[in-house]
């Protein structure tokens, strides 16, 4: 298994994480994915990249720097995105009862490794 997939698999080992993927931010395409069955990688990637870009523009318009974390919270889970280097986003899907604090730490660590 290559190091990229190992990094994604490590994120998915956090309890309650249904999947992780690396996405090209500018075009919303999947670079690599480790998703549970039933998750549509291509669609999730496109929407995650689009939503993250919108929040980035909103933050910048408000005079804030580029966000380090963007989260979409819904009834039964959460989507988390973290920048992972030039034009890349690390995306994770968490269940409602997942330990989001731990998931965020693992995502940030993974993003740092991917960016280096």
């Amino acid at each position: 298994m290559n190091s990229l997939m190992e990094t994604l698999e490590r994120v998915t080992r956090v309890a309650g994480i249904r999947g992780a993927m690396l996405v090209s931010e500018s075009d919303g395409l999947v670079v690599a994915e480790a998703l549970a069955e039933g998750l549509e990688g291509a669609a999730v990637a496109a929407l995650a990249a689009s939503l993250t870009l919108r929040l980035r523009r909103t933050a910048q318009t408000a005079g804030l720097a580029v966000p380090a974390v963007v989260q979409l919270k819904a009834e039964t889970g959460t989507l988390i995105t973290v920048p992972a280097g030039d034009d890349l986003l690390l995306v994770a899907v968490a269940e409602r009862d997942a330990n989001l604090g731990l998931a965020r730490i693992e995502l940030k660590d993974a993003a740092t490794r991917l960016a280096s």
């Binding site: 500018s26 939503l51 919108r54 980035r56 909103t58 005079g63 889970g77």
Partner: protein
């Protein structure tokens, strides 16, 4: 559709001595590719150490990266080269304001306004900061409990600070939001958020997560939360990064309740 960054990169490769690096660095910064933007800007300052615009570009990128000290140094270098440089003066004002020091921001903004007297945003920012400093000078020390984030009532809602309520067309209904330099940005932010409810809802549905509840973003210099108080409105709450994200979510719930009450009073 062509990719402007690819075009600019090709132009720079064809003529490495050209000033196209300024456009390329800015395009990368706006797109959030800060690592690449930094490399381009640093290459530019090395090649043109006496070019103020190159250092200004570098400063903006450093500010976006959250390195305020290095950004301040870069903007001071700009002023060494071009003492009336409006971008550098605004940038240093931004850093001072962001550090919670409006008194230090004011001289930079006044100098910028002197160089660009037709800049309405600058004039507004100077007026706002002067007014806020006068109010602060007159106001007695607030009670400690009022300083605790999380106990806000968001009343009167129509003039609540750091909150924007917008309709489905991206028009601001209530609330006020100022950028760190004092410029009112509520309308511009509302426009950027038009359609966010549909986009977030679609993403949540596709993931099988049910209805969306909020979207949050954490920047080094501020946290923001977006919520749908009603099906036809969206609320944005922005606070200092010292407010933990979990508490900010609770504050957003409070603000949404205040928004719904305000909308009911209007109906």
């Amino acid at each position: 559709m062509t990719d402007p960054i690819r075009d600019l990169t090709a132009r720079l490769a064809a003529d490495p001595q050209s000033l196209v690096f300024l456009e390329l660095g800015e395009a990368l910064r706006v797109r959030g590719q800060l690592g690449a933007a930094y490399k381009v800007a640093r290459m530019g300052t090395n090649r043109y150490p006496e070019l103020a615009e190159a250092h200004d570009l570098l400063a903006r990128i450093l500010a976006d990266q959250g390195d305020r000290h290095a950004a301040a140094e870069a903007w001071k270098r700009v002023l060494d080269l071009s003492p009336q440089h409006v971008g550098a003066l605004k940038g240093l004002a931004f850093l001072a304001f962001r550090a919670g020091d409006p008194a230090s921001a004011l001289p930079y903004l006044e100098a910028a306004l002197a160089s660009a007297p037709d800049d309405e945003g600058l004039a507004t920012a100077v007026t706002r900061i002067r007014a806020s400093m006068e109010v602060a000078a007159r106001k007695p020390e607030p009670e400690p409990v009022r300083q605790l984030p999380g106990v806000e009532t968001f009343e009167p809602f129509e003039s609540a600070r750091g909150v924007v309520l917008l309709d489905a067309q991206g028009l601001r209904l209530a609330g006020e939001l100022a950028a760190p330099d004092g410029t009112e940005v509520g309308d511009a932010v509302a426009a950027h958020l038009q359609g966010v409810s549909r986009e977030a809802g679609r993403a949540a549905r596709l993931l099988g997560l049910g209805a969306w509840q909020s979207v949050s973003a954490e920047s080094p210099d501020g946290h923001l939360v977006v919520q749908p108080p009603t099906s036809a409105t969206v609320l944005l709450l922005v606070r200092d990064p010292r407010v933990p994200v979990g508490r900010l979510a609770l504050m957003a719930d409070q603000a949404s309740r205040a928004a719904r009450a305000w909308l009911e009073r209007l109906a």
